[in-house]
Every structure is written in structure tokens, then in C-alpha cells.
Amino acid sequence: MGEIGPLLSQLFHTGRDWAAGHGVPPLGAQILMMAVQVGIIILSISLVPMVLVYAERKVAGFMQGRLGPMEVGPFGILQTLADGIKLIFKEDVIPRGADRWVHIVAPIVACAPAFVCFAPVPFGKGMTLVDLDTSVLFIFAVSGISVIGILMGGWGSGNKFSMLGGLRGAAQAVSYEIPRVLSVVPLLMFYGTQSLRGIAVAQQARWLGVLPKWFIFYPVIGQISFVIFLICSVAETNRTPFDIAEAESELVAGFHTEFGGIKFALFFLAEYAYVFLASAMAVALFFGGGDGVILPGGLIPSWIWFLGKTFMIVFMFLWFRWTFPRMRVDQLMSFCWKFLLPWSFVNIALTGAWILWRAHS
């Protein structure tokens, strides 16, 4: 296995040329290839939640002294597939008191942005679908749309508990969005670019030829940034210890109480897609993207490095979930506004000082 980025690029060029050679206008061929690329990304991102759900259940099982799914397929690896099939074929129930239209659209609004967000993620050398100049901002902006899906789910169910869950989830997501964006600002200042790929590539260097020049290894600023980013990402994805939006002991299941079948699956898909997205972003921002360590370059292709590191971060998400209790709403908010936000400002100031010092020396 080598780098598949150039290979894919080659493939798309060949495909476009082939289509153009068979009488398809250039514009059409371009759109066709775009569609193929988008299709590939949607398919692979849809597969990710399946893997993550399986991983979650296995990790939870091992942490709780049990085995997790074992029945469907060897070691239960087909369990998620079976669950998916079950969910698709379930009856679609819309409660009588629900706002029909909002109820139906809500899962789509929650889920669709998750896929769009993967467009500028640099999965490896030459594996960035759209290398946007403002990709960091783009991801933050688009992932914010999902919050509306949560609110719609809360409103559209016509259920008090759902509405409370939706309100809580949205309030939490909007609040944590702010320190999350601010935690990335030091990186933007440091590398002078907003492109995820650009930031990842800029980190592919070594200190003294050994320690990778990843942002996480920059003393103080790197660690503060990463910790704030990680905490906020957990909160953004509504997972324990920040899962007050779906707190099952208080709100039954929060905003998705009334959703079943494929609509529930879409909410679920969105959650895991965002977990993966946040991990991928953390890798690109703080862990040098596809940059390898220890082994000489090229032995293991960059995309394997990237996915490996991403799954390490994903594991941290799972680990948090199965270890921590849930915070209370007001504690959650004060933690965000009185702790994370001031520290992210401090970190920006520190980074500014660092950059000034670097410029002067």
C-alpha cells in the first residue's frame, strides 16, 4: 500500500478525459467527476459511523467488564450493519402533536452539514477534496448548521422533554462554539493560513531531527489550545460529560425522543460523523495531519498515519463517554464562559507574544 492520493487524482483525470472523449461536454465531464468524488466521500463518511458505533460498543464493553456485541458475524463486526438494516425498515412514526414538516426535515438538517464538512479535510497527501483557503472557518460555519437540526427536532416533536433537550443542546453548542473557534485562533496566527491542509503541511518538520514540529508539542500554547479544542469538541458533539441535550436520566432521550427508524439513524450518523470530524480536525491542526513519526517517511503512507491518529482521538471521545458523569446545565455553561473562554483569550495573547518574540529574535 502506498499513497493513494495521486492515484485517485490520476483516476479522476482519466475519467474526465474519457468522458470528454465520448462526446460529453467539458463542463458535464467536470460535474460528473465532481459527483463521483462527492459520492466517494459520502460513502466513506457513511461507513465511518458504522465503524465508530462498533468501536464504541466494543470499547464500552471492555471498559465495563463485558464483551460487547458478539453475535452477528465474527466478534460481532456485522452488528452495526444489522442495526442499520433494522433501523431502515422500521415504521416511520410521527407523533400526533408533532409539527410534521419540521419533524421530517430535522434529521436531514442535522445530518447533511456533517458530510459537507469533510470536503476540506486533508486525509493524506493529495487527498483533500476541496482545498479551501478558509477551510477552518468553513468547517466551523457549516457544522453550526446542525444545531438548527437539533432545535428543529426539539420543536417538531411536540414533546416537552424533546423541546428542553433541543434548547439545552442548542445553547450548549452555541456557547462551546466560541471557545472552540478561539482555541484554533493561535494556530491561524502561528501559521498564517486558514487552510487545514496548509496547517498540516506546515507542521511536517522536526526539532533536532527527532521531535515532530506538531503544534501540540509547542510548549504551553499548543497544549492549552488542544485541551480547549478537545473539550469543546466533546461538548459540540453532545457527548458525555456534556450530553445534557439527550440526558437519558432527565430528558428521556432529549431532542430525539420521538424519532425512530431512519430518522433516528440520521441523528446518530450526524453525531458519529462529527466525532470523526472533530478528531480529524484535531489531527490536522495539532498532530501534523498525515505526518509520520519514528518510521522513515514513505514506509507507511500518510493517509494511514492520518486515520491512525484520528482513531486515537476518537478513542479519547469514547473513553470520556464511558468514564465521566454528566454535568449540570448551569455548571456546563459556567465552565464554558468562566473557564474555557478566558483561557482561550490568554492563550491567544501568549501566542501573540510568542510570534512577536520570534519576529524580533
Binding site: L27, T134, A141, G144, I145, G154, W155, G158, A170, E177
Partner: protein
């Protein structure tokens, strides 16, 4: 001239106008708010179409992901679900339409004069965030900070008005 950008532009325009009409005609406040969200999202699409990537992203981040969510919040908190499907418009809708039409006409007139001969669609997408940053923290620093001061004043005012009288004592 039928090319890809113009097709997208007209699709977006139809969407934006259609949803804007839903905003003022829908009886369900929540539906109105949703339609407004859509309108603002399409505006971001226009920005993207013009090559203003930073503006497009900011539009989505601030309007769709921020302001609209706060508005939905207000709608959800202030209304009992589904018992208030009353009309959004009052009896003066006719004057409203006339006034809107007058504003639209004057805008179209002035824009036609100003932008005559200017291409509607930027052909090359140059990254805009760096120039915008330089502008905001360079030539435009004073207005930029003045605007933030206004926002701060609004924030303080909101806190003062929103404060519980009893709690203040």
C-alpha cells in the same frame, strides 16, 4: 448566456425570494424563522458565488449558526408549541407591500446606475481573508472598533433590561 454560475445564481435567487415570502406569509412563527434561516443561508451562497469565501463562511457562522439559533430560541421559549398559529401580518399589509415595492424600485434604479457594466460573477477566486484582515486591523480599524463598541453597549443594555428587578435589589 447560460453557464454554470448563472444557473446557480438564478436558482439561488428564486430560493432566496421564495423563502423570504414564506417568512412573511407563514402563520407558524417557527416556520417563518426556519425560512429566514434558509434565506440567510442562500445569501451566503451568493457570497460564495462572488468569490468572497471569507464572507460566505462568516455569514453562515454568524447569521445561520448564531443569530438564527438565538431567534429560534426566543420563538421556542416564548411560545407554547402549536397553539399560536395566528397571522403574522397586521391589517396594514397593503401599505407594507407598497413601501417595499418603492424601496425595491429605488434600489434597482441606483444599482443599475452604479454597477452598469460590472461583471456580476468574479472569474478568479482570490483568497479574501488576508486582505479583509488587513483592512479591519489597518485602514478600517477605527470604524471596526467603533462598531464593536456599539455592540458592547447593546449587550450591556440587554443585560440591564433583562435583569430581574427583585434580584437587583
Amino acid at each position: 448566456m447560460i453557464n454554470l454560475p448563472s444557473i446557480i445564481f438564478y436558482t439561488f435567487s428564486v430560493l432566496a425570494i421564495g423563502m423570504a415570502i414564506v417568512v412573511v406569509t407563514s402563520r407558524n412563527v417557527f416556520h417563518s424563522a426556519m425560512a429566514l434561516t434558509g434565506t440567510l443561508g442562500v445569501v451566503a451562497g451568493f457570497f460564495a458565488l462572488l468569490g468572497a469565501d471569507f464572507l460566505a463562511a462568516s455569514q453562515v457562522l454568524i447569521y445561520v449558526g448564531g443569530i438564527m439559533i438565538i431567534m429560534l430560541f426566543v420563538v421556542m421559549l416564548s411560545q407554547q408549541p402549536f397553539d399560536a398559529l395566528q397571522r403574522q401580518t397586521n391589517t396594514q399589509w397593503l401599505y407594507g407591500i407598497l413601501f417595499a415595492a418603492a424601496v425595491a424600485a429605488s434600489l434597482i434604479r441606483s444599482f443599475r446606475d452604479v454597477y452598469r457594466g460590472v461583471a456580476a460573477v468574479a472569474t478568479d477566486t482570490v483568497p479574501t481573508s488576508a486582505p479583509i484582515g488587513r483592512l479591519l486591523l489597518g485602514d478600517m480599524l477605527v470604524p471596526f472598533e467603533a462598531v464593536s463598541l456599539v455592540l458592547l453597549a447593546a449587550l450591556v443594555g440587554a443585560v440591564v433590561f433583562g435583569q430581574d428587578r427583585k434580584a437587583a435589589k
